[in-house]
Amino acid sequence: MMPSTIKQRISYINCSLQIIEIKHYRGHFVTPKRLAFLLLSLVTLSGCSQIISRATDSFAGSLSAGILNQNDLETVRDGAPAYLLLVDGFISDNPDNEALLLAGADLYGSYAGAFVDEPVRAQRLSDRARQYAHRALCVRNEQLCDAMDEPFETFEAVLAAESDEADVEALYGFGAAWATWIQINSADWNAIAEIPKVEAVMRRVTEISPSFRQGWPYLYLGVVTSQLPPAYGGKPDNARANFQQALELSDRRNLMVHVLFASEYARLVFDQPLHDELLSEVLEADVNEPGLTLINTLAQQRAKLLLEQSADYF
């Protein structure tokens, strides 16, 4: 909404200038901590919230892009906490902004899952990711929000009846944050008991939008459906199909698909040729890919380790 009064116009100009200034800094030499300070100062300015809201939507996206295109893991590991604080500040000022909440969930979840080894910290950060994602889903769709704590069959029925194209971003964001939270809290049976709900969410995303985000939902489905051996009723064929779909939709450029295909599926079914072939492909691939460079760098690191363990495992 455009500001209508003179006071608001002034605020708008002030805010715009500061945003331009920050973008300039970001492109050059500003450190993440300084950037966070600047932006946190910015969001405390009165009268800016609506404008900030729009600016922060795109800024949060830029932040995520900046991180995701980084190929130096240490830079992200050291710099990401400042971004997390920054997003907290934005969300605090825009508590019902779905895009910001999802960006917050994404950043917190990714950082906790990929960079935090200390279990208590990882749990704390993944809790926040899940809370942000849950709030985003509640902002987007009240029925889905209310159904989250219902028994599985009720939840599944509401998911099928009440979600559509407009919900897909929030659903996926929630499913992803939830999956990370489960992975980090896997010692807790409450977390394990929620795996079927995450699977249902990701499956619903693929039903609504089959090629959503170049196959990321299929990657989650591949991992989830690889957890149970056939002797316990698991369906490895479904897991394989999910991973293959993710490979196809990502044009084999998301190297984390290869790594998880190998570590979760190939190890489950004891298929060493597939395991080694997928991982060798990762090691030979170029990690640079818009939006995937960080993930691919992580994937390559992990592929090397898995390949080294291959002879011992199989």
Binding site: E150, P151, F152, E153, D188, W189, N190, I192, A193, I195, P196, Q227, L228, P229, P230, A231, Y232, G233, R267, L268, V269, F270
Partner: protein, 343 residues
């Protein structure tokens, strides 16, 4: 003289031969022995982590003479297939449930007699009597037991509340395929159970071919059966036990000292696994409640009814001579003592 010389020379040659033989034997003892072990537990579980940690410690303590190679997630097939592969030397051991080893020693079925125990404490006490007996029984059958861990009890999960046997009248109740004792127990409760392999249960719950199953609380969540169930009867149906058994011939290729290292490390690992299992049972029970599963409590009369069914079942099994009757009596004697002490 010649004779002496000849004898002396023969002795010398013989003694050389003995030294050579001893060296060869020592050499074969020193060579690494790999024990290939199959388990249904998936990689990444606490169970597999304990087994891998134990293998690492055994490798270090035996200076690389004893190595373990695991085949997790059931990739080596069913328990019968694993036992067959052990017989021909393709595998050297496996982790089994007690009933899966009943083909080698029927006494393994004693642990899991339905409606036998009223509490975990009773089961733990009975195991002090029974574990050495079945370990000896399996040794006679060519298997060396290196680890035993209790997994708690299986409970009854259903889609309508089950308090008494008559509540099962119209239920579609699962029994594990080939489990004659469970099958008989449910028949004596007036039910015609549906025998199915574990791997088919979830699909049967989805299609409605089953609506009543037994599993541990942790198993119900891990296999996602909880998504299809509404109630859990809060009463122990049967005790679950995990046993790691090795092929005796292979195990005896290790030096006695190395055998002891394996026994000690695996015993410690299985003790930790049991502690984890017991925590899992409690944690999973709470999680089931949080997922909306309603716990059905039984009153004293209802508990007595199920325990009475257990007693009648034992009498029937005695008549059919399914077990070593002396061992069954020893178990029942221990159980009676535990109950008398508790009163």
């Amino acid at each position: 003289m010649t004779l002496f010389h000849s004898t002396n020379s023969t002795l010398r040659r013989l003694s050389c031969f003995c030294v050579l033989l001893a060296a060869l034997l020592a050499g074969s003892g020193a060579a690494a022995v790999t024990l290939k072990i199959a388990t249904v537990a998936p990689e990444g579980t606490a169970w597999m982590q304990e087994l891998r940690d134990a293998a690492q410690r055994i490798k270090e303590q035996t200076e690389g003479r004893v190595l373990f190679k695991y085949y997790p997630g059931g990739v080596m097939g069913s328990s019968d297939t694993v036992l067959r592969k052990m017989r021909v030397g393709q595998l050297h051991g496996g982790a089994f449930t007690a009933s899966e080893l009943a083909g080698r020693d029927p006494d393994l079925l004693l642990y899991g007699i339905p409606f036998l125990f009223d509490s975990a404490e009773e089961a733990v006490s009975v195991r002090k009597t029974l574990d050495p007996l079945v370990t000896a029984g399996l040794a006679d059958a060519g298997l060396t037991v290196v680890g035993i861990s209790g997994g708690g009890f299986v409970n009854l999960f259903s889609n309508s509340p089950v308090r008494e046997a008559s509540d099962l009248a119209s239920a579609k109740v699962w029994t594990p395929e080939g489990d004659a004792v469970s099958d008989l127990a449910f028949r004596m409760a007036g039910v015609s159970p549906v025998p199915l392999s574990l791997s088919d249960v979830y699909t049967a719950l989805q299609t409605g071919a089953l609506d009543t199953v037994v599993n541990t609380t942790a198993g119900a969540i891990a296999f996602q059966w909880h998504t299809k169930m509404k109630y859990m009867t809060d009463f122990p149906v049967a005790y679950v036990l995990g046993v790691m058994a090795l092929d005796q011939r292979r195990f005896q290729r290790l030096t006695e000292a190395d055998q002891q290292v394996v026994r000690d490390e695996m015993a410690m690992a299985f003790s930790r696994i049991e502690a984890t299992n017991l925590q899992d049972v409690v944690g999973a029970r709470d999680a089931l409640v949080n997922q909306g599963i309603e716990l059905i409590s039984l009153n004293a009369a209802q508990r007595e009814q199920w325990l009475g069914l257990g007693e009648r079942l034992i009498e029937r099994l005695k008549q059919e001579a399914k077990f070593d009757l002396e061992h069954l009596d020893a178990m029942m004697q221990t159980l009676a003592e535990v109950r008398a002490a508790a009163r």
